[in-house]
């Protein structure tokens, strides 16, 4: 196994540092352009993601590190993403089918009214 000592060239470090500062400025700037809340959030997360990857791959030297360490980081980000998506999905679709009958999954209640002139048809 090759030794994982790797000395990152100092130029790459300086370049990354400048890029990080630049991207920070970009994040602030895009906030002041109104693209709608969803797009703004996506853009902010995208820039943050790029910045985090720069730190991970250059400052933390993941680019030159063993594949397993990359896997650890990627899988933890993946699990966090799934965690967030599932939980928020739950909140988004709460009680979504209860009030609606036919629209959801083409379902219809198995119960048929005894007669059209139903005493409780008030609702």
């Amino acid at each position: 196994m090759a030794s994982s000592h790797h000395i990152v060239p100092v130029k790459a470090l300086i370049g990354t540092f400048i890029a990080l500062l630049g991207l920070t400025a970009v994040t602030v700037l895009v906030t002041f352009i109104d693209l709608g809340p969803a797009l703004n959030l996506v853009l902010a997360l995208l820039i943050a993601g790029i910045k985090a990857s720069l730190v991970l791959f250059v400052f933390m030297a993941l680019r030159w590190d063993s594949g397993y360490n990359v896997l650890i980081v990627l899988s933890s980000f993946l699990f966090i993403a799934l965690f967030a998506v599932f939980v928020i999905a739950d909140f988004a679709f709460r009680d979504s089918i209860d009030p609606i009958e036919k629209q959801t999954f083409g379902l219809e209640s198995p119960v048929k009214p005894l007669s059209e002139a139903h005493p409780y048809n008030a609702h």
């Binding site: 899988s75 799934l82 999905a89 739950d90 979504s96």
Partner: protein, 535 residues
Amino acid sequence: MVHSASSSVNFFKASSGWRSWLFTLDHKRIGIMYLVSIIIAFGLGGLFAMALRLELLSPSPILFSAKEYNQLFTLHGAIMTFLFIIPSIPAALGNFLLPIMIGAKDFAFPKLNLASLHIYILGSFFLLASLFVGGVDTGWTFYTPYSVETDTSTVMTTLGVFILGFSSILTGINFIVTVHKMRVPGLTWMRLPLLIWALYSTAVIQVLATPVLAITLMLLIVERVFGVGIFDPALGGDPVLFQHFFWFYSHPAVYIMILPAMGVISEIVTTFCKKNIFGYKIMAASSISIAVIGFLVWGHHMFTSQSPLASAIFSFLTFFVSIPSGIKLFNWVATMYRGNIDLKTPFLYFLAFLFLFFIGGITGVVLGALSLNVHLHDTYFVVAHFHYVMVGGTTIAFLGGIHYWWPKITGRMYSETWARVACGLIFLGFNMVFLVQFFMGSKGMPRRYYTYLDQFQPMHAFSTSGTWVLGLGFILVVFYLIDSLLNGEQAPANPWGGLTLEWRAASPPVLENFDTPQQVTHDPYDYENGSIPHA
């Protein structure tokens, strides 16, 4: 340095005095201390269980008040989960065996390993201290808002569990690194014993899921002490969010409990059939896939509280876990085909495991079905199901493992006759306690009930009587194992004819496990080509 120059001394005799145990860096001594601690925890949790069942002998109150009963089942659950099952196979047997089975001298981080033990002991003190400062009556799940407003000492208990979490995380990190970096030459990934694969998968869950439990309990403490409102409906928070957080850890934790058990079972079945395992690769892969899929199914604990869409997704994903579990079951049976089957005690535990795990697994499929889950959720059906998996699965495998490696750990043989009797009693008693709970649950008997409708009494009484048989079985095990320590005959290095590396070591192993450097040239269970050590 604790280690002496002469490495060929048996690790029990290498040094003496309580300091040589409490501050040892030897993974074997740490494993034994874990073993002793978890057996004490199991005894305590078991006593609580017996008391609970005794109260349930009658539909109306007989022994305890409602509050005492609620504290009893909470502590039974918390102790059994956090102090017994989660550390049982990984921390106790895993600690002792993992380095030996990969031919290493020790874990990659022996000091971290010792720290995990100390953290475990500290956490246990906090958890048990809650007994003396007002008890805790929230159930082991600590659901909000009840856990926020109850007047019992929730903070003390959750702090204990929080601390225990770090013990689990550090153990997990240590296991993964050790498997990666400390294997002997020739021991490739595809030659790892299946117990190591299982422990490795378990460690992945421990590292990636436990921190979520830690932060969840931290938030619960903050909520209770400061009222920050994140889980408090009165402040706009959401109690169901707590359930998501809690189960994001606690569902994978179920696999922390069962995966190592599956590993132990694989070791036992090969040795006592003198057969290579059927489908090694798919067995290893199924451990990893159970660990990964296990992260995606936590919502199946919440079918009655979350959105229908989330329920549907989680139910769908839940069924994927059943596939690798099923493969394992079929492969174990296939391994027996044309073997040379030696019906010693560990193999009897294997058969018991097979039976009980089958029932636990099938009832898991029943509970995974959305429509049935709505009816069965929070009834005795669920109680019976998870006891079949955790007791019938993990605890039985743990006992099988104890019997299998007992000669290796202690250097003594135990009484085969008494061991078989105890195995039979435990199997019988366990089924008496829990089989009837499936019937009760399907008829609607809710769990965590202090009093119940009279019509359920015959079934409850039968269940309670089973606890006495089960308890007798466990007491018998303790007795003949202590007897074996005192009077048992010397164990040979390889009493069962096992093929994996630990059987090359002496019984009990020497200080740094092996006198000579080891080399691996065959698959772990290749009985046809490999030679049985010390045969």
